[in-house]
């Protein structure tokens, strides 16, 4: 993964989308300091005044995970400990992340956290396997919210869920955005992204190739990068045509534009790496740069949250 630059503001949701193996989850792990020891990171991820990529494990564990970045996990059932009740999960997290002391106060804080995600209080004494998929998701979201972290990071939160549960899950996440959280949602589910996001970042072969306003991306004028356009057109409600070929290996990227072997707009110019300009990194975007290039023009050189 390289050259990824974006920001997310309080009260805003940025959806990061791409094919499997494009580097989305590597980015999430980097932000939480969970990359394997042999991984190398460069650049900056600023959260308030802290750089997440250079912060030590102690800082990350004590002040970042849960407190400044809340993680909404991919499969809540796997994230929760099977032998413990939801109440016990919540109370432990309250004790760990907040200053709340005393049994009664912890209990009250745990119930309040459950209440925020509309997790039914009469289910608090159940174990994870006794919950439906939707309630397990709410329990996991409640845990992510306990530390009142300003940034929520949701890693494929809707994988394998039925469509109406997808809708409910993203609507609930949206509520937390509207309450003032910043949300970075990593997903391959374009329909979920359309429902929740203010802006969309498309990742290809470890780079952000398009970063734009969600309404323009999903509506008119539509995606400007040929890859983003191909991805959207692959949906069964659109032309249901795949992007030809396979994504390249992250370890052996071609020089120049990594999408060139699959791109029907490629020319000799594409042998040079396209710089990110306005909303897109492409020598021949599908539509011209709009005169009133909005939001993504504020793409900074580093990552802020």
């Amino acid at each position: 993964m390289s050259g990824a630059s974006f920001d997310v503001a309080p009260g805003e949701c940025l959806a990061l989308i791409g094919e499997s193996g494009c580097g989305k989850s590597v980015l999430a792990s980097a932000l939480l300091g969970l990359l394997p020891a042999n991984a190398r990171t460069a650049g900056h991820a600023h959260l308030g005044g802290l750089d997440l990529l250079t912060a030590g494990e102690r800082t990350l564990a004590r002040t970042v995970r849960g407190r400044r970045v809340g993680l909404v996990p991919q499969s809540p059932a796997a994230h929760l400990t099977p032998v413990r009740t939801i109440r016990s999960h919540l109370e432990e997290t309250v004790a760990h992340l907040t200053g709340v002391r005393g049994r009664a106060a912890r209990r009250a804080a745990a119930e309040q956290a459950a209440h925020r995600t509309e997790f039914p209080l009469d289910h608090l004494d159940r174990h994870p396997h006794e919950l439906s998929g939707g309630l397990a998701q709410r329990a996991a979201t409640a845990l992510a919210l306990v530390g009142d972290a300003p940034l929520l990071l949701a890693d494929e939160p809707t994988t394998g869920l039925d469509r109406d549960l997808v809708d409910r899950t993203v609507d609930e996440l949206r509520r937390h955005v509207d309450d003032g959280h910043a949300l970075l949602m990593i997903t391959h589910d374009l329909t979920a992204a359309e429902r929740i996001a203010d802006r969309v970042a498309v990742m290809y072969a470890g780079r952000i190739v398009e970063l734009t306003d969600a309404a323009r991306f999903f509506g008119t004028p539509g995606p400007r990068h040929p890859y983003s356009r191909g991805l959207l057109e692959a949906l069964p409600e659109r032309s249901f045509t795949p992007v030809p070929g396979l994504p390249p290996e992250l370890g052996s990227l071609p020089e120049g534009c990594a999408f060139a072997p699959r791109c029907d707009r490629a020319t000799d110019a594409c042998a040079a790496l396209p710089p990110f300009e306005h909303t897109v990194a492409c020598h021949h975007p599908v539509t011209a740069t709009p005169a009133d290039t909005p939001t993504a023009a504020r793409t900074p050189e580093d990552t802020r949250a």
């Binding site: 499997s20 193996g21 394998g160 391959h188 991805l231 959207l232 692959a234 069964p236």
Partner: protein
């Protein structure tokens, strides 16, 4: 015809997850079975693929009632059906290179000699490049592994395909690519398809007809 007649199935006879299910797929037909997760549709897909013995009811395959399931299914019935599951990582032996994974059914049916050629052709059909065939499952993405699992399902030229949430873990482009592989195969062979899933938009676009779970099984 692939016929499921009054099938009741599950893992505990006192609490079956599928009750009295009836469904028929005609030769060359693509039928989508639409249901929410946890409704029992995956169990029914396993019964249709002869991988799970029902507690009651009957499966009739091209006019012949099925008498045995899993390894007890007669070879000509077992090999008439290709099956692809939702989670390629659970359906693939982690020790096998992708080439060997695709060749599994060929080896199991004594076609070892012709396997290499056939694997190369199948890999090309599903869009896997030769360099990927030497890798093991943990060295490829979910999408690449699912392509290999689809190639394996097509290896013995099945007359029927059963796809259980084949694309639920995959991105839009890989989904469209795998559906196209299935449809190209069906167009050239006349195979029938039972595709089980929860995505109405996808099944409507993919299949000749989509039936809701409530219309197939008793509640």
């Amino acid at each position: 015809m692939l016929e499921l007649r009054a099938v009741t199935a599950g893992y505990d006879r006192r609490a079956p997850v599928v009750r009295d299910a009836n469904l028929t797929v005609a030769p060359g037909e693509a039928v989508g079975l639409l249901g929410p997760s946890g409704c029992g549709k995956s169990t029914l897909a396993r019964v249709a693929a002869l991988l799970h013995r029902p507690d009651a009811g009957e499966i009739v395959l091209d006019g012949t009632p099925v008498r045995g399931f899993r390894h007890r299914a007669p070879r000509e019935q077992r090999t008439a059906i290709g099956v692809v599951f939702q989670q390629p990582r659970l359906a693939a032996d982690p020790r096998l290179r992708l080439a060997d994974l695709i060749a599994e059914p060929l080896r199991a049916t004594g076609r070892r000699a012709s396997a290499a050629d056939r694997v190369a052709g199948l890999a090309d059909t599903v869009g896997l490049t030769p360099d990927l065939l030497g890798r093991r499952p943990h060295e490829v993405s979910d999408g690449q592994l699912q392509r290999a699992c689809l190639a394996r399902a097509l290896a013995l030229h099945p007359r029927w395909l059963v796809c259980d949430e084949m694309t639920a873990m995959l991105d839009a482009s890989t989904t469209a690519a795998l559906v196209r592989v299935v449809e190209d195969y069906r167009a050239s062979t006349g195979a029938g398809l039972l595709s089980v899933g929860h995505d109405r938009t996808l099944l409507n676009r993919w299949c000749d007809r989509t039936v809701p779970w409530e219309a197939v099984a008793a509640s």
